[in-house]
């Protein structure tokens, strides 16, 4: 078993899982406590449009994903502030349009797209060293920004109206938060792909929230869980020779089910006492 650690691709995959889990644990916590997983889904699926454009115009698909997901984050953020009741529809439209654009761009691109599946469903076993550097930079940026704006992010996540009265720049901070989520989504695309991102972003934080009531602790637990899920998923996928992205999600989903069961059990025992 240990011999696979000698392969560079596997060490890269472990590093990618670790780096992605850090961003994922921090930003996933905001997604869960702010209940914006639908927005995050919209952002990740929009990113596929950028991946397609990258294929078509011959630049790096990840660059395209960064541009499209940031644009989607800003678009959804502004629309949800001004769109009123249509927020839901706006997000759903961006979600589908991003996917449609991606497919259209790829069909127009010359030749065929060899690693298309890896963008859709992830392939952590093929993460080049250059991407690891990018992931490290994004992690550092996310940690710094969240540390600097921790009190503001907490205030706007908990009670936006009160934060407004405190004259915090609520709108700009919300957009910043969505942009950080967008960048996290791009990192996770490498691991589980556009379609499965939403699960890896939310499940670790959702489990963590069942066991802690402190935001920082939830983030920390979510990071650890993210690492456990990606490593376990990778290991099983290697042993059983099945796709890694899907396996990671299944591992996470099973853990979530167990955690929910445990919580229910705990609640019933408390109420029986």
């Amino acid at each position: 078993m240990i011999e696979i650690l000698y392969f560079e691709f596997f060490r890269n995959a472990l590093a990618a899982g670790l780096l992605a889990s850090i961003a994922c644990g921090i930003m996933g916590t905001y997604v869960v406590v702010k209940k914006i997983s639908f927005i995050s889904g919209g952002i990740s699926h929009s990113a596929f449009g950028g991946i397609g454009l990258g294929y078509l115009l011959g630049f790096s698909p990840i660059t395209g994903a960064i541009i499209f997901s940031l644009a989607a984050a800003l678009g959804i953020g502004i629309a949800s502030k001004n769109g009123g009741e249509n927020e839901d529809t706006v997000i759903a439209t961006m979600w589908a349009t991003g996917m449609a654009l991606g497919i259209l761009f790829i069909s127009l691109a010359p030749g065929y797209a060899p690693d298309l599946m890896s963008y859709l469903f992830g392939n952590i076993l093929f993460v080049p060293a250059g991407d690891l550097t990018l992931m490290l930079i994004l992690d550092v940026a996310i940690i710094c920004i969240v540390w600097l704006f921790y009190n503001e992010f907490l205030a706007i996540s908990f009670d936006e109206e009160f934060a407004t009265i405190m004259n915090i720049p609520v709108e700009r901070l919300c957009l910043l938060l969505l942009c950080l989520i967008a960048l996290t989504v791009v990192m996770l695309i490498k691991v589980v792909g556009v379609i499965l991102v939403i699960a890896l972003l939310t499940i670790p934080a959702a489990i963590a929230q069942q066991h802690s009531e402190n935001l920082k602790k939830i983030m920390f637990i979510a990071i650890v869980l993210g690492i456990v899920f990606t490593f376990t998923g990778m290991w099983i996928s290697y042993l059983a020779d099945v796709p890694s992205g899907a396996t990671i999600i299944i591992v996470a989903a099973i853990a979530y089910l167990i955690s929910m069961g445990l919580q229910k059990f705990r609640k019933t025992t408390v109420s029986l006492q």
Binding site: V33, L148, F149, N151, E152, L154, A155, S157, F158, D159, E161, F162, A163, T164, I165, M166, N167, I168, Q209, S212, E213, N214, L215, I218
Partner: protein
């Protein structure tokens, strides 16, 4: 009379096709204790949101401490309606009350100072919930949560408190307790309480106003025949199935005792 800390001149606000606030004039002074009653949907909360600069009036002028509401609202202690936010949110009592200090931190990255923590400690002690400071807010009782919201408002060092239906979800004893706290605070801060229930309010406030699109102000807390007559000026269909009608009658009976 001293200068008004909050003044509304001919304020109008329409939400979609409904005129919610109509030609409202209101002056709130230092040491005022004003109760605003009126039926649900009568525009009470909208009036508070106008004062807080959360929404802009279609017509008229609102001044807070002589300036734009957006500029000076950090000096307003706002206690919103219960359940306007998620009490399951992972935030502790002291963390929540600390957010009341954010309006006084003028830095790009707002970090709480020792003084901020000291102020929060005082507010929690005043509300007698200091021993609950590390508890998650969802674990408290309704009355305790109400005190946390009041402590957060007090942490802003307010010149005036605006409370929206503060005792809506608490039992009668907690309600009286809560108004006793307000009475003590009133020696230093002006207070405006909004409620659809005139019950506890009228015992404590100095002035009462009835809000039903328009605002009728009565410069005494006593319910007089005149006041009932004035309240009847509110559109009749709202009175017919609204709360104030019944409540006012109850009050007349109480006075007769």
């Amino acid at each position: 009379m001293s200068k008004a800390i909050i003044s509304l001149e001919d304020v109008w606000f329409r939400y979609k096709d409904t005129q919610v606030v109509e030609a409202v004039n209101l002056q709130i002074y230092d040491h005022d204790f004003l109760g605003i009653i009126g039926p649900n949907g009568g525009g009470k909360t909208t009036l508070l949101k106008l004062i807080l600069g959360l929404i802009t009036p279609d017509r008229g002028r609102i001044r807070v401490l002589g300036g734009d509401p957006r500029e000076h609202r950090t000096s307003i202690g706002y206690v919103p309606q219960y359940r306007t936010f998620d009490f399951a949110f992972p935030i502790s009592v002291s963390q929540m009350v600390l957010t009341g200090r954010l309006g006084h931190i003028h830095k790009t990255f707002r970090k709480y100072s020792r003084e901020d923590h000291e102020i929060v400690k005082n507010c929690l002690e005043m509300m007698e919930i200091y021993d609950l400071r590390d508890r998650q807010v969802g674990q408290l009782s309704g009355g305790q949560q109400q005190k946390v919201m009041l402590a957060r408002a007090l942490a802003t060092n307010p010149r005036i408190l605006l409370l929206d239906e503060p005792t809506n979800h608490v039992d009668a004893r907690t309600e009286v307790n809560f108004f006793e706290i307000l009475k003590e605070l009133h020696t230093e801060i002006a207070i405006v309480v909004v409620s659809h229930d005139i019950g506890a309010i009228s015992t404590y406030v100095d002035r009462i106003a009835c809000m039903n699109q328009k605002l009728y102000i009565h410069d005494s807390p006593e319910i007089t025949g005149e006041m009932v007559a004035e309240t009847y000026r509110c559109p009749v269909e709202l009175i017919a199935h609204g709360v104030p009608h019944r409540v006012l009658e109850e009050h007349k009976n109480m006075e007769n005792k």
